[in-house]
């Protein structure tokens, strides 16, 4: 007989297991609507591979696992996909999550690819593939994808199969062991085949005598499978407590059972593995205990994944108006904020208690520091200390008291004489610790990005400066080369400077000009030329500026300044021209008109001269032509005189 160890703490709450009549699996009619969440496990949600309106068969893959820690989702029955959207799911927050909605057709026909296989002909790799394809996630409650759990590279010497089911009320695993003992043993053998050299221990609490008997009989022929009966104590079904109970070793902080060479699987998971490998059936159903005084027909029901809680309670004739609905056991479960949610792979129990059965705690009293919680804590923490710290939001300190090792079993709250909702405090503190850790990570990340951005901007400025310097150096070198080519030529800069100095000296020595002399009335033509030159320069500079900008050159501001200056000069020149014209009584419009008139007359004269009648023409024709020519000549002369007078008004005045 194996020597049993014990784990610290623990409590003995009333079992309340008989109400749900363990040992019999009840069937429910197939619901018309199934709502299958994409994330029923720990890890990344699965990705839908079907479309709305698509016809699916029972067991068909409808969402593919994404990544290593993820599990695929399959159609629990045949029917039509009616929606892929966010629906409320069974979560304490009442939040929505992505689900696939399936309207069942009642046929419940299996997909053609689903078929049984002889495990003896499969190699280990094929067995693993069939397990992975079935989308099995730990059915004990945590929902860790089983294929990921099996894929450890650490040597496993013990396979612990958890049939403890320590929480009151729940009898789903008890029932499963009584009904499907052979399947569990077969599944255990499959796992043993994958785990080289391991032995298997199926652990059952001593409050399930029928299950123990049945399992012992089923395991009789298998020498490497041992049925271990442990005394009833809550929470002996917790993974860490189970390991300590059986092996006397503790899973290191932050470690996993594989660190001790142990692999834990729930009995329901092992049964699902058996179904996946031998029958090819994916994880689409499970046994759920429906119990509590509020339920008229309590029992263990085989339900399809995705069945609505409402539907199940209705079928079991549960009284839910006045009573809360608890998903999970009375110790660790939570009250469902909404019963229109689907049951998933990890849902093992629904309790509808009446007010006398599980009285809600309205009030808690002050902590009297009795220390009972410390005695009860299976994780050997200091619940009282954690409570004070959580209450005062001292989250950095609470971590030092190993809050994260709390398994939220509720043993401390169960024994608390002041009825303090201790676990709720710890859940809150855990959430805050995680949130703060996430914020710190994010801040660290943001800091890195900010700093690298600053560095990048600085580098850009420096590079710009470098380029400017390089260009200046290149220009200087070019200058020097030019000078070296014609050593005779004087330095143009020095020459220009000398000229400027000379000019200044001359200006200084010359007597200051009179204002009148300075303002020599400018020539009309000169002014026009000056304006045109400035306009051309402006055009050129603008173009150069635009080019430079387009090419992304750096020092465009100089060019821009030049353009602005030229613009001003151009304006000034145009103004000077206009002023001159108005001063001198010039009217560019009239001049233009006169020019046009003159040109017309000129053209007329030329035309007439060319079209002179030849010798054979009659005299009349000749004389007519002569008259026209004379008239045209007269018009031309007139136009010329008019144009001249406009162009040179001063002369007209003189004459």
């Amino acid at each position: 007989m194996r020597k049993l160890f014990d784990f610290p703490g623990g409590v003995h709450p009333a079992q309340n297991k008989q109400q749900s009549n363990p040992g019999k699996v009840l069937e429910l009619p197939l619901p018309q609507r199934l709502l299958v969440p994409l994330s029923q496990h720990i890890g990344a949600p699965a990705k839908p591979v079907v479309k709305v309106g698509e016809q699916v068969q029972k067991g068909q893959l409808i969402a593919q696992a994404t990544g290593f820690i993820s599990a695929s989702v399959h159609a629990p029955s045949s029917g039509t996909i009616s929606a892929i959207d966010a629906f409320p799911v069974a979560h304490a927050s009442g939040l929505e999550a992505m689900c696939i909605e399936l309207q069942t057709d009642g046929q419940d026909t299996w997909h053609q690819d689903i078929g049984s296989a002889d495990a003896n002909t499969l190699d280990d790799q094929q067995i693993r593939q069939r397990m992975q394809a079935a989308g099995i996630a730990g059915m004990g409650g945590a929902g860790f994808p089983s294929s990921a759990k099996l894929a450890t590279d650490k040597p496993i010497h013990t396979l612990l199969i958890n049939g403890v089911e320590c929480e009151p009320y729940i009898t789903a695993d008890d029932t499963l062991m009584q009904v499907h003992s052979a399947d569990i043993i077969a599944g255990a053998n499959l796992l043993l085949r994958l785990l080289d050299q391991a032995k298997c221990i199926i652990v059952i609490e001593d409050n399930k005598p029928q299950a123990i008997t049945v399992m012992q009989q089923a395991a009789l022929e298998h020498t490497d499978i041992e049925i271990l009966v442990i005394p009833t104590k809550y929470p002996s079904g917790g993974e860490k407590q189970l390991i300590e109970n059986v092996t006397g070793k503790q899973v290191p902080k932050g470690g996993i059972p594989a660190d001790l060479g142990i692999l834990c699987q729930n009995v329901a998971t092992v049964k699902a593995i058996n179904d996946a490998v031998y029958l090819g059936q994916p994880s689409i159903e499970r046994i759920v205990t429906v119990t509590g005084n509020g339920v008229k027909q309590p029992g263990n029901y085989r339900i399809r994944i995705g069945t609505s809680v409402d539907y199940v309670l209705q079928q079991c004739q549960a009284e839910t108006h006045a009573n809360p609905v608890i998903l999970g056991g009375p110790m660790m479960g939570f009250q469902l904020p909404n019963t229109q949610v689907p049951l998933v792979k990890t849902s093992n129990c629904l309790i509808v208690p009446d007010p006398q059965e599980l009285p809600g705690k309205d009030t808690s009293m002050a902590c009297i520091r009795c220390g009972q919680c410390e005695v009860a804590c299976p994780a050997q923490l200091l619940p009282q200390q954690l409570y004070w710290l959580a209450k005062s939001d001292a989250f950095d300190k609470i971590e030092q008291y190993n809050l994260m090792d709390c398994i939220e079993c509720g043993a401390c709250a169960y024994v608390c004489p002041s009825q303090i909702p201790l676990v709720q405090h710890y859940r809150y503190a855990k959430g805050m610790v995680r949130q703060q850790a996430a914020e710190t990570r994010q801040a660290e990340h943001a800091k890195l990005r900010f700093e690298s951005r600053e560095q990048r901007l600085l580098d850009e400025v420096n590079a710009k400066e470098e380029r400017r310097k390089a260009r200046a150096a290149a220009a200087a070198a070019a200058q020097a080369a030019k000078r070296a080519e014609n050593p005779g030529a004087e330095d143009p800069v020095a020459a220009a400077k000398a000229r400027l100095a000379e000019k200044k000296a001359a200006e200084a020595s010359a007597p200051p000009k009179k204002a009148a002399e300075v303002q020599v009335p400018a020539n009309h033509k000169d002014l026009k030329t000056a304006a045109a030159i400035v306009r051309t320069k402006l055009k050129k500079a603008s173009k150069a500026f635009a080019d430079a900008q387009a090419a992304g050159h750096d020092n465009t501001d100089k060019l821009q300044a030049m353009v602005t200056e030229l613009e001003q000069r151009s304006e000034a020149a145009a103004k000077a021209l206009a002023d001159f014209e108005s001063n001198m009584g010039l009217d560019p419009e009239a001049e233009k008109l006169a020019q046009v008139t003159w040109a017309k007359a000129n053209a007329q004269v030329r035309k007439l001269t060319k079209a002179a009648p030849d010798e054979s023409a009659s005299d009349t024709e000749k004389s007519e032509h002569q008259t026209a020519l004379t008239a045209a000549q007269a018009t031309l002369d007139q136009a010329k005189a008019h144009l001249d007078s406009i162009k040179n008004p001063s002369q007209e005045a003189k004459s």
Binding site: S39, V89, H91, A92, S93, L95, A97, P324, I326, P330, M331, G333, F334, Q335, P337, P353, L358, P359, G360, K361, D362, T363, S364, M365, A366, K391, G410, A413, Y414, P421, V423, Q424, H425, R427, Y428, K430, G431, M432, R434, Q435, Q436, A438, E439, Q442, A443, E444, H445, A446, K447, R449, F450, S452, R453
Partner: protein
């Protein structure tokens, strides 16, 4: 007389020797910059939002270290940061300075993409390079990188940036603090959320 000279000489010698050691140590183990600045900077939320009046978190950390600024000018950090800073510096925690802004829920910038004209102004304003886009191309916010600093909202010429609160998902949700009822507050039974019989 001799004894006096010996004593003075011995003391002088010792002073020189120890002075030398101290001087060497001061050079050898010199700490560049003020280490407290780094510690303060660690506690700040690194949104680089500038609501404290400094161009980023580090300058504010420097200002706190130089005692030119109070510790309560960081709205994104809120009360938590003020408390942490007070603990670190051994000063009294102050209420958040309302001048700098109010502590609110964490927000994230979203660009209404069909309204974006591709001006790149928000990209230049973003302190953590969380906006992706190019001139005359639509811009978008890389959500996981956004710190919610608000700096991109103001430069947008078409006002197409919204600051929206970060939605709670089942990954980020956590239990709220239980309401503490004491026996003297006893009132008719209410079933509140989180009131699970345990």
């Amino acid at each position: 007389m001799d004894i006096l000279i010996y004593a003075v000489a011995a003391l002088t010698l010792m002073a020189l020797v120890f002075g030398g050691i101290l001087g060497y140590a001061a050079k050898r183990f010199k700490v560049d910059g003020n280490p407290i600045v780094e510690q303060i900077n660690e506690l700040l939320p690194q949104t680089q939002c500038g609501q404290c009046g400094h161009p980023g978190c580090k300058p504010y950390a420097e200002a706190i270290a130089n005692q030119t600024d109070p510790i309560n000018r960081c709205p994104p950090g809120g009360e938590t940061t003020i408390k942490a800073l007070a603990d670190l510096l051994g000063v009294e925690a102050l209420p958040l300075d309302a001048e700098a802004g109010v502590d609110s829920v964490r927000k994230i910038a979203y660009i209404r993409e069909d309204e974006c004209i591709g001006c790149t102004k928000c990209i230049q304003a973003c302190p953590v390079d969380a906006i992706l886009g190019a001139a005359k191309q639509m811009h978008t916010v890389i959500i996981p990188e956004c710190t919610g600093c608000d700096l991109c909202v103001e430069p947008c010429p078409v006002d197409c940036i919204d600051m929206l609160p970060v939605p709670v998902t089942s990954q980020t949700w956590h239990w709220q603090k239980p309401e503490q009822l004491i026996a003297t507050d006893r009132h008719p039974r209410v079933v509140s959320q989180g009131d699970i019989p345990a």
